[in-house]
Symmetry: C2
Subunit: 189 residues, 2 copies
């Protein structure tokens, strides 16, 4: 198993070498060229993954316009997790913004592993809690923060984002125009 | 332990009578009169709970205006869960809309129970997954659905809500004016 995945897991629980080996047998790695999709609208979402390399965004396509709602960076967990759990089709897209790779596990294999390694329940609980915190904060910030505050939050948590993500995508993510974003950047520079 | 709590848990995992007894020793029940708060802004959130009876709403207070973002009904889990996990202070309020009661567990006791009854990891994972799905759908619906669609969603999932929650609160929840809500109701009646 790759070191970055081991490290990500070890934040939450201690797994023995044997346990890591059992887990790693269920993992597969897939490569995505820039512009390729991890999930498209109306796809089923049978996998959860871990971004080994690269960067993805997720967006809703509404009347032909991409509304970007978030990014997945290296060492992030990546999925449409509600659809993964419910067996629904995705309503959004996840697309590679550069050449990227993801280590994946299939739903069926994850649920088999829960039986074989009950400890993984704790790992999953911790990961879902983290995802829940992230989405709650994002949801909250749309109600109680201005675009400027959310911009500062974004560059604090991802200082390199302005170098790698086009400005129009960041503006879409913040729910403002590219011109609005330019004005904020000028005020803050 | 009360039957409704047992039933809620049994949706996720099977607990023996002994396990239920151990769990119930950590539970306390609190009563809230109409208008009383379960959580206020700037409170720490050391408890998660289960609504035994009654109804709560949660809202942000911004410039003196209550922005209602959701409701907790009987048999819902209730908390500011991100703050519970992170040890942060709440940014929102949770208030009883009628005389209500909640069965609670303290954070300290829950984490002790995880050691004593590792099965609870699975229960917690399942509950957090459910909460994650709910908030994701809510977050998604704000982007891809109209107020009218969200109104229909709300009355489909909670058919009695119009009888028990004042119209202005439902309008606030949908992000529209009470007059806008009246127009939607007229069109749909």
């Amino acid at each position: 198993m790759k070191e970055n995945i081991k490290n990500a897991f070890s934040e939450y629980i201690k797994l023995t070498e044997t346990e890591l080996l059992i887990l790693s047998e269920s993992l597969i790695t897939k490569h995505y060229k820039k512009g390729e999709y991890f999930i498209k609208e109306k796809d089923f979402c049978d996998y959860v993954g871990f971004v080994d390399k690269g960067l993805f965004n997720f967006f809703y396509l509404i009347d032909g316009v991409e509304h970007i709602r978030g990014f997945f960076f290296m060492n992030d967990f990546i999925s449409n997790y509600p659809c993964f759990l419910l067996g629904n089709k995705s309503k959004f897209y996840i697309r590679a913004l550069e050449n990227s790779s993801i280590t994946l596990i299939h739903k069926k294999d994850l649920f088999l592993l829960y039986k074989q390694l009950p400890k993984l329940q704790e790992l999953s609980r911790s990961i879902v809690e983290k995802l829940y915190i992230e989405i709650s904060e994002k949801y909250e910030s749309f109600f109680i923060k201005t675009a400027e505050e959310r911009y500062l939050e974004l560059i604090n948590s991802e200082p390199d984002i302005l170098k790698i993500v086009p400005q129009y995508m960041i503006a879409s993510y913040l729910g403002i125009t590219p011109e609005g974003l330019s004005r904020i950047k000028k005020r803050k520079s």
